[in-house]
Each structure stands twice: as structure tokens, then as C-alpha cells.
């Protein structure tokens, strides 16, 4: 797995900081890697209070936001860094990763291309760019084959309007996939640790020699770099550490949900949604159900598989599950991260309260 070494990161910085501050930042990075976001944030803020412009600290703060799922703040942090330190490739790279997670692949592409322009030998950005190109290619193919019916509809309307008013300029339709719901409100999902096939997030890893940056291992499907060098992205399901029976129950429910979907059993599938399920676009429940039934019945066959599922308890009767969903039907196939916010019903079953796409 490619990983950015701090040496590379530091090379671009014009900072001869005191050892104390360096220590504090190293500590903050360590806290971040162990998932203690709040503590990491406090430590970084202390450094920033003394030195508000410190690029290293701001970069780390951007990472914390990213891991917390606070995409807007993270984007803002990295974007400002690119303005103040245009010679640094990493902030561009991380901006790109966030854009890509929102489905904004053109933006991601632009950021990565700038990252490479600043550092032509920056392997991480190259790999990420390869991934983004593949995504863009996939979108282009969708347009070629008119696979995404919702896009097709939008395109239709635009074309019609254009003909009515003549040569009015048309703004590029955004190619968002999951951007609308990109900001998880409550939980702190830690999607970065498990999900392969997302672009690599550059993270500072303390004390690695610069040489490691030049020797990226290249997995077939690139993976998100974990913040913790000691824990490579092991499939979480393979190592059920906690003796949490509820956790198993949650996973079993998710599995059964995927199986019902694969069987095209719409009744069983819909039965996994809690009474207070929040529909993706806020539409009425029956509207949503109707649409789901159609989508489930349209293909001849459906196969939904789930990989690298991670359960996180968010309360006594609530949990979030993040996993890679591999959806295949005779009409369409798609892979991506999904997070289900689950609640425990009175009868003990775990049901879906909210569904989020992407991380």
C-alpha cells in the first residue's frame, strides 16, 4: 500500500519548528491513528493557537475533519493549504480524494493533475489519478450507453430546453453521485480503514524514511491508506474481536437484507427498513417503496454482496455498518461504500433507519 512519508511532506514545508511543536503534532497524529479524533483535534488546535499558519498542523486538522466525515471543513482546510502552499502536492491529493468520495471526479482529476504538476514523481497522486480516470471513463461509458436513467432524463430536458431558446449556453451538469448526503450528521464512521478501491488518502506517517515514498506497492484495486501504519486494512469481518453479540446480530441482519435483495424479494427487502426510515431524498415512504419495488423487479437477476463490513455501536439500540457493496444485475453493476444506520426494533431485530452512499 502506498503511503506518504512525513519526510516527503516536510520537504516542501518551510518550517523549522521547535522540537516541542513537532512532538505535539506527532502525538496528535498518533491520536488520530488510534481513532481519538477529539483528542487529536484538541492537540492540533493547541499548536495552531500558537502558530495559526503552521502547514503541518493545518494538514493534520484537515485529516481529522476527513476522518470525522466533516467533508466541508476538510475541503476548506485543504483548499486553503493549496492556496497558501501551492507547491505542496499532498493537500491537492487529499482534496481530490474527498471530491472523488463525493462523486465529483472532474474536480478530483483537476486537483490530482495539479498535485502531479507540483511534484511529478508523486506516486500516490498518480495512483489516485489512475483511479479517477477509471471512474471518469466509467461515467463516459454510462453516457455512451445511457445506463443511468436519471442522468438520461436530465440530459433529455436540457437538450429540449436548448432547442427552444436557441443557442443559450448550457452549464455542465454536475456528475454527483452521493454528494447530496455526503455529510454524516451523527456518527463518526471510520470508513477510511477498511474500504479498498477508494483513492488513497495521503497521511503523514512519522519517522518513515523518504525512500519508502518512492516504493509504492501497487495493489490491483487501490486502497485507502490507513492512518495507522501498524494496522493494514485487514478485512474487519475476519477478526471479530469484541464479544459483542449484538454486533453479530447487526451483521446478520445486513446479510439477510442483501440476500433478500439478491432474491429480488421486495417484501422481505423492504421489511428491513425501520418505521422511521429516512428516505434518501426525503420523499414519502410509500413513494420510495414503490420506486424500490420497481428497481428490484426490473432486472432479471440481482446479486448483492457485502465485503469488509464494520459495525460501530452508536448507542444501546443503534449502530452503523459500513461496507463495500458490490451490486450486479443484468442491467447494471456498481461497487461502492455504503453505510447503514441501524436501530434495534422492539422485537430485537436490527432495522435500517438511514442509508448513505459513499463515505
Amino acid at each position: 500500500m502506498p503511503r506518504l512519508s512525513v519526510a516527503v511532506l516536510a520537504a516542501g514545508f518551510v518550517f523549522a519548528s521547535a522540537a516541542a511543536r513537532a512532538d505535539e503534532l506527532a502525538e496528535a497524529a498518533q491520536l488520530l491513528r488510534s481513532g481519538q479524533h477529539q483528542e487529536a483535534m484538541e492537540r492540533v488546535n493547541q499548536v495552531l493557537a500558537a502558530k495559526p499558519a503552521d502547514p503541518q498542523a493545518r494538514f493534520l486538522k484537515g485529516l481529522i475533519y476527513t476522518e470525522q466525515g466533516d467533508t466541508r471543513e476538510a475541503i476548506e482546510m485543504f483548499r486553503k493549504l493549496t492556496e497558501d502552499y501551492p507547491e505542496l502536492p499532498e493537500p491537492y491529493n487529499n482534496l481530490a480524494v474527498i471530491y472523488a468520495s463525493q462523486g465529483q471526479y472532474e474536480k478530483a482529476r483537476a486537483a490530482l493533475e495539479r498535485s502531479i504538476r507540483t511534484h511529478p514523481s508523486y506516486a500516490t497522486a498518480y495512483e489516485n489519478l489512475g483511479d479517477v480516470y477509471a471512474k471518469l471513463a466509467s461515467q463516459a461509458y454510462d453516457k455512451a450507453l445511457k445506463l443511468d436513467s436519471s442522468n438520461a432524463g436530465a440530459q433529455n430536458k436540457l437538450a429540449l430546453v436548448r432547442e427552444l431558446v436557441g443557442n443559450s449556453p448550457r452549464s455542465e451538469a454536475p456528475v454527483t453521485v452521493a454528494a447530496a448526503e455526503a455529510k454524516p450528521a451523527t456518527a463518526k464512521p471510520a470508513p477510511a480503514k477498511t474500504a479498498p478501491a477508494n483513492p488513497v488518502l495521503a497521511t503523514p506517517a512519522p519517522a518513515s524514511p523518504a525512500a519508502t515514498a518512492a516504493t509504492p506497492a501497487t495493489p490491483a484495486s487501490p486502497a485507502v491508506a490507513t492512518a495507522a501504519p501498524a494496522t493494514p486494512a485487514a478485512p474487519a469481518m475476519a477478526a471479530p474481536t469484541a464479544a459483542d453479540a449484538e454486533q453479530d446480530a447487526v451483521l446478520a441482519s445486513v446479510k439477510a437484507w442483501a440476500e433478500a435483495w439478491s432474491r429480488k424479494d421486495a417484501d422481505a427487502y423492504l421489511d428491513f427498513y425501520a418505521k422511521d426510515f429516512r428516505t434518501p431524498k426525503g420523499e414519502a415512504r410509500n413513494e420510495w417503496e414503490k420506486a424500490r419495488r420497481q428497481r428490484i423487479q426490473a432486472p432479471k437477476s440481482i446479486s448483492v454482496t457485502i465485503e469488509s463490513a464494520r459495525v460501530k455501536r452508536t448507542g444501546d439500540a443503534s449502530a452503523s455498518v459500513t461496507f463495500r457493496q458490490d451490486y450486479k444485475s443484468d442491467l447494471l453493476s456498481s461497487r461502492g461504500l455504503k453505510t447503514l444506520m441501524m436501530v434495534k426494533a422492539e422485537d430485537g431485530r436490527w432495522l435500517i433507519q438511514q442509508e448513505k452512499v459513499g463515505n
Partner: protein, 390 residues
């Protein structure tokens, strides 16, 4: 990267010979620019060009496919042209590949200026243009009438029937082969979006089709729905479908009741001298028929008709009996032929459709009618297979 270029080129073959007139606004010159850049292994330039092409024609799916390939080539080696990774209906990709091939082939093989279509022997003065469809090339050629002779004006990509050509039955999703003309102009306001910028019905089944027992109806030349710039080469239910800008261009040439639409499996091109010789020989035969009629020598006149002749319910014997009876009562006959057109019937051995205005005067009757005859060359002599009024 090299591999990608080779793959796309394999689809395109060697390209970019200087070409004759291409329809204004056609995406094909831009498409060929994309392929040229790929051939030169300038993939960045190719991507820039294909993105410009998409900006000009946002719904041109083939351009999106090539863009997909060019982007993917930056990420991994391409395995094929249209390297779609998803499990999509394969025929959709195949359709776009087929469109790429015929469009690029059309650019490479321009009609040569000294070759003429063998079908268009003569146009009458009222027919300003003639349309000729080559089904194998998915191409519609427009010719202008210059002193009765066809001059190539422009050509366009067309979509034809899902199941190919040579329509025989209603619902067979084939495009007819034959000599037709435009019968109406249906403006877009009267049509659903599916027909795009407009529609021009043609007169399938014509008298020849009916004689062969062919049926079906509703063969139109029409535009494209708004969600796509063009449709695959074989996709219609038998209609001839053009991109909307192309339909509007072709529409300017359409004269209802006049403009010939000749649909061939493959257009035969011949040199001007050969076309001229054929026209002269048929003109002579037509003149002989006219004179024989004026001579009131009915047997001589009937010698111009084939044993296979028919007209409506009359076969040759009935026709002969009728003509003998009519001509017997005439003291004199004068026949004038004007507005003559001669169009060779595709897929038929030596059959030419001749139309003209016939000014008939005789000792006891005079009239002017528009006539259509099907002439066939039998054992070196032209004879009439069918005759009727239009």
C-alpha cells in the same frame, strides 16, 4: 498507450484521405480528428478533441464511448475498443462500434467525383434533388439535378431497420429496397419527440412492391429523439433515421411528390460514360415505343411489352386486346413525352423506373397524364413490365 492507439485504429483503419463535401456541422470531421490523434499516439490531444466534440454534440454517444476509452487508457491498458468494464448489454457497445466503423468508413471512402450512381440515369426538370441510400454503408447521398444529371452534394449517416433491408412484410423491421418518392412533409409540431426534427413519408409499398406481394406501411425519413445525437446503424422499424441537424439539411432538398428516394443494398458507382450509354439506350427504346404507338401498328407497339407485363389486373393478353380495340377506332395518334425521369431499380436485374408526362392526342380523344413504366432489358432489348398512371 500504444495498444490503445492500435485498437482504436483497428476500428478506424487507415483514414483521413482528403474528402469531398461533408455535411456542414457533421461531427465526422471532428471524429476523424480524434482518431488521427490516436493514430499519432497523441492521446492527450485526442482527449481534448473528443471533449470538444462532446461540447458541440453533448448527446453524441459514440464520442462518450471514445472518451471513456481515452480516460481508461490513462488508468490501465485497454482490452478492446469500447472497453466498458461493467456488465452491460453487449449489443449496446456493439451498436456504437458499428456506428464508429460506418462513420469512419464514410470519411475514408468519399464518392469519387468522376463516378456516378448507376441508379440515377436521368432526373426530370422538376426534381431538384435525388436521395440515394446505401444500406451497407448506412449512408444517404444527396444529388443535385444539373441538366438532368446527378451532381453529388452531401452525404449523411443514417439508421435503417433493425433486421436490415428488403422489406416484405408488415412488422418485419426491415427497410424496403426500391425506388420511392417523398409523399408528405410532417412538421415536428405534429409528431412525438421520437421523430425528432420532422418526417417525410415515402410511398412504400409502391406498384412494384404490391406486384411482388409486399406489404406494410409507414416507412418515413425522419429525425432522432432528443436524448441522443444519433441512433445505431440498425435500429429502426424500417424507417430511415437521420440526426436532427442532418434531417433539417436534407429537408431543404425535399419536394413532396417529386424527390426520389432510392434505397439500395449497396450503391453501384459507374463512370459517366457507362451511365450515359445506358441512358441513351433506354431513351431510344422509349422513343421507339412512342413512335410505334403513333404508327397505330398495334402489333409493333405491343412488341415493346414483355411477356411478363401486367397493369393492375390486366396481363399482356388483356392489355393487347384492349389496345387493339382502342387503336382500331383511331384515324391518327400523337404522343408527346416530357418530364422524363429514369431511375434504375436496386436489387433487380436491369429494371428501370421511367416516369413522364404524356400528352396524348388522337382523332377521338385527348388527355395529359403522368405515367410510370417499369422497363426491363430482356435479351438485349428493353421491354415494358408495368405501366400505369401516377
Amino acid at each position: 498507450m500504444k495498444r490503445a492507439a492500435a485498437l482504436l485504429c483497428a476500428a478506424a483503419a487507415a483514414l483521413l484521405l482528403p474528402c469531398g463535401a461533408l455535411a456542414a456541422g457533421s461531427p465526422e470531421p471532428q471524429l476523424s480528428g480524434v482518431v488521427a490523434a490516436i493514430e499519432a499516439n497523441q492521446l492527450n490531444l485526442a482527449l481534448q478533441r473528443v471533449e470538444a466534440l462532446i461540447a458541440a454534440h453533448p448527446n453524441f454517444r459514440l464520442a462518450h464511448l471514445i472518451r471513456g476509452d481515452l480516460l481508461l487508457a490513462r488508468s490501465r491498458p485497454l482490452a478492446t475498443f469500447g472497453n466498458v468494464m461493467k456488465t452491460v448489454p453487449q449489443e449496446k457497445v456493439d451498436d456504437l462500434r458499428a456506428e464508429a466503423l460506418v462513420r469512419l468508413r464514410a470519411l475514408r471512402d468519399r464518392p469519387e467525383s468522376d463516378r456516378l450512381p448507376r441508379s440515377i440515369l436521368q432526373l426530370n426538370a422538376g426534381q431538384k434533388h435525388a436521395l440515394l441510400v446505401d444500406s451497407r454503408r448506412s449512408r444517404l447521398y444527396v444529388f443535385e439535378n444539373v441538366d438532368g444529371h446527378p451532381h453529388f452534394v452531401a452525404d449523411y449517416y443514417v439508421t435503417l431497420g433493425k433486421r436490415g433491408v428488403d422489406k416484405t412484410r408488415e412488422g418485419d423491421q426491415k427497410t424496403p429496397i426500391g425506388v420511392y418518392h417523398v409523399t408528405a412533409n410532417l412538421p415536428r409540431q405534429k409528431l412525438s419527440d421520437f421523430y425528432g426534427a420532422g418526417a417525410y413519408p415515402i410511398n412504400y409499398p409502391n406498384e412494384w412492391d404490391r406486384r411482388q406481394g409486399r406489404n406494410g406501411y409507414g416507412i418515413w425519413v425522419h429525425g432522432t429523439p432528443p436524448d441522443t445525437y444519433s441512433r445505431p446503424p440498425r435500429a429502426s422499424d424500417g424507417c430511415i433515421v437521420l440526426a436532427n441537424p442532418d434531417l433539417l439539411s436534407v429537408g431543404r432538398f425535399m419536394q413532396v411528390g417529386m424527390t426520389p428516394v432510392i434505397i439500395a443494398e449497396e450503391v453501384e458507382w459507374a463512370d459517366a460514360a457507362a451511365v450515359q450509354a445506358e441512358r441513351a439506350s433506354l431513351t431510344q427504346a422509349l422513343e421507339q415505343w412512342r413512335r410505334d404507338w403513333e404508327s397505330r401498328d398495334t402489333e409493333r407497339y405491343l412488341g415493346n411489352y414483355s411477356q411478363d407485363f401486367s397493369s393492375g389486373s390486366q396481363n399482356l393478353a388483356a392489355w393487347a386486346a384492349h389496345k387493339r380495340a382502342v387503336n382500331a377506332g383511331k384515324a391518327w395518334i400523337r404522343v408527346g413525352l416530357t418530364q422524363v425521369s429514369m431511375l434504375r431499380y436496386p436489387n433487380q436485374a436491369n429494371v428501370v423506373v421511367v416516369t413522364f408526362a404524356q400528352d396524348y392526342r388522337s382523332s377521338n380523344l385527348a388527355n395529359t397524364v403522368r405515367k410510370i413504366q417499369y422497363w426491363q432489358k430482356e435479351d438485349g432489348r428493353w421491354r415494358i413490365l408495368y405501366e400505369g398512371s401516377v
